[in-house]
Amino acid sequence: MLSNNMADPRRQNKILRYKPPSTETNPTLEDPTPDYMNLLGMIFSMCGLMLKLKWCAWIAVYCSFISFANSRSSEDTKQMMSSFMLSISAVVMSYLQNPQPMSPPW
């Protein structure tokens, strides 16, 4: 007779399916970075478009990249893509209207 530590501990009948932990119960565990960066990116790209500030548009591009890098795989890619496109369009519009190079703030 096999002793206990030689016995197979696996039990096919005790299998439980994986349930992804719901984020409503633990809002603190979620990383808010991608959402903040997304919002920031949109704000900066709107600023860049409206006020025709080149550096705003560039920062918006960076924000959307950072948001993409930190995003969860379950997140909607459409949102990522739309913020990315918005920031690229902000950069392009700023340069079409004013082809001068950006001057450093110092």
Binding site: R10, K14, R17, Y18, L49, V61, Q79, M93, P101
Partner: protein, 488 residues
């Protein structure tokens, strides 16, 4: 919502395209100047400013022939030195005029040299640099080039970081696969497939977080392993980590059935982790009120501390094998938390206390640090294998660990105490909630009576309600009387 955003953006972009772009107006003045003056030199008048630079660098070779006023020859340059007393001629260099008026009547040979030296001494040559936006060179766009380089660096780092994390995860899984497959019937599940079949793969939640769900074993419901790597794919995070080093973590959460564990709360880990957990975790703060004890008393290294509900629990958990495991791998252990009242970290609610006790689950939580402090290589993952052995051993051990009668009584008392405290704290709120519910019921009752069509039934229901009210009032009065009697 974002559809509306993009629509407005398009509208605004079209609006901003309509007005003309601003161009440099610097050179446009030349067109209109011909109208200003009928003078012969009208065309050349304003060119004095722009080509003053050219004119001033060129005077030495032209000094001698220019003495004779000869407008036809020198059409290209607004020769300041030529005209003397011409109308409408803007002459910024009146000095030059004086010099030449002096030399007009004199000999001309050899004067060129004198003029040359005189000029170089009296008029320092101001060579204006062409403003940056008028240059057509790539160098003036250096800020843009810098930005694009930064973006490329970010993308490169993203690719490299993602690959490194993926390799580390795979290395971990490869070294642990055998152990897990021999212990669990289901290794790897993402919850989406119809049948409970092992996927044999990690779930990728993020570029830096990987999950693995194992289930189908005696003594436990299931085990969730989370590989929480550093955010190597985010350049900002990489730079922040240069200031503040951190390490990859492996978190193992074993959920147990009710019969698999007796009632106790216990934790062991680094001093810092214990202090933090005692503040953050709901169950540790309620059941383990004392400060963390040093692990040295039980044969553990000094760096580790113990939080326990009662001494008997610590003695039960810290048997020789466990002490052996922990001592050998103390550098990799961040925290080990066994609890039958586990409900996660304390939840901060805005409306004061929650009305119900949070749901608890019997859980074993292990947090391990991957050696290497950020600079891990796939080989380091093998070092975590003994820790997984410890996890399996703990599962079996906890199943066998039973408190004696005294311990059980203490544990039950503790739990009753915690529940009572909670009820007391929320008493006021629960009363309010009960009051509102009673009022709701009354209102519903009244509405029902009102809506009743048959007047006969209406009357009867009203009478019934009145009788009930009367009874309640009488009961209350009786109670008050009883209390008064008792007080006396």
């Amino acid at each position: 919502m974002y559809g509306a955003y993009s629509f407005w953006v398009l509208v605004l972009m079209l609006n901003s395209l309509l007005p003309e772009g601003r161009y440099n107006d610097d050179f446009d003045d030349g067109e209109d100047l011909a109208d200003f003056d009928d003078n012969d030199f009208a065309e050349f008048e304003d060119m004095t400013d722009d080509s003053a630079a050219e004119a001033e660098t060129a005077p030495p070779p032209r000094a001698s022939p220019s003495l004779q006023p000869d407008e036809d020859e020198d059409e290209d340059e607004a020769t300041v030195e030529l005209e003397d007393g011409q109308d409408g001629f803007e002459d910024p260099d009146t000095q030059d005029q004086d010099i030449y008026s002096k030399y007009d009547q004199e000999e001309f040979e050899g004067i060129g040299d004198m003029e040359k030296t005189g000029q170089s001494m009296k008029d320092p040559l101001i060579i204006h640099t062409v403003p940056a936006h008028l240059q057509n060179s790539w160098e003036s766009y250096y800020m843009e080039i810098l930005m694009v380089t930064g973006l490329l660096a970010y993308i490169m780092n993203y690719i490299i970081g993602k690959n490194k994390n993926s390799r580390l995860a795979q290395a971990w899984f490869n070294s642990h696969r055998e152990l897990l497959e021999s212990n669990f019937a289901l290794v790897g599940d993402d919850g989406t497939s119809k049948e409970a079949v092992s996927t044999g793969k990690l779930n990728q939640e993020n570029e830096h977080i990987y999950n693995l769900w194992c289930s189908g074993r005696v003594c436990c419901e299931g085990m969730l392993i989370q590989l929480k790597f550093l955010k190597r794919q985010d350049l900002l995070n990489v730079l922040a980590r240069m200031m503040r080093p951190a390490c990859d973590q492996v978190q193992v959460k074993v959920t147990l059935n009710d019969e698999d564990m007796d009632t106790f709360v216990f934790a062991v880990g680094t001093k810092k982790a214990m202090a933090r957990l005692q503040k953050e975790m709901q169950d540790l703060s309620e059941f383990c009120g004392d400060k963390p004890k040093s692990g040295a008393k039980y044969g553990l290294p000094e760096s580790l501390a113990i939080l326990s509900e009662m001494g008997e629990v610590t003695d039960g958990v810290m048997d020789n094998k466990m002490v052996h495991y922990i001592t050998n791998h103390a550098d990799k252990i961040e925290s080990i938390h066994f609890s039958d009242q586990f409900s996660g970290p304390k939840v901060m609610q805005e409306e004061g206390q929650p009305l119900k006790l949070p749901e608890t689950k019997k859980t074993l939580l292990f947090t391990f640090n991957v050696p290497g402090m950020g600079n891990t290589s796939p080989k380091d993952m093998d070092a975590l294998l003994p820790l997984m052995n410890m996890v399996i051993y703990s599962i079996d051990k906890v199943k066998k660990l039973r408190l004696n009668r005294e311990g059980k009584q203490k544990a039950d008392k503790n739990r009753a105490r915690v529940e009572e405290n909670f009820l007391k704290q929320t008493h006021a709120q629960r009363q309010e909630a009960a009051q509102t519910r009673r009022e709701e019921k009354k209102r519903a009752e009244k509405e029902r009576i009102m809506n009743e069509e048959d007047p006969e039934r209406q009357r009867r229901l009203e009478e019934a309600a009145q009788r009930r009210e009367q009874k309640k009032i009488e009961k209350k009065q009786m109670k008050m009387k009883q209390i008064k009697v008792k007080a006396m």
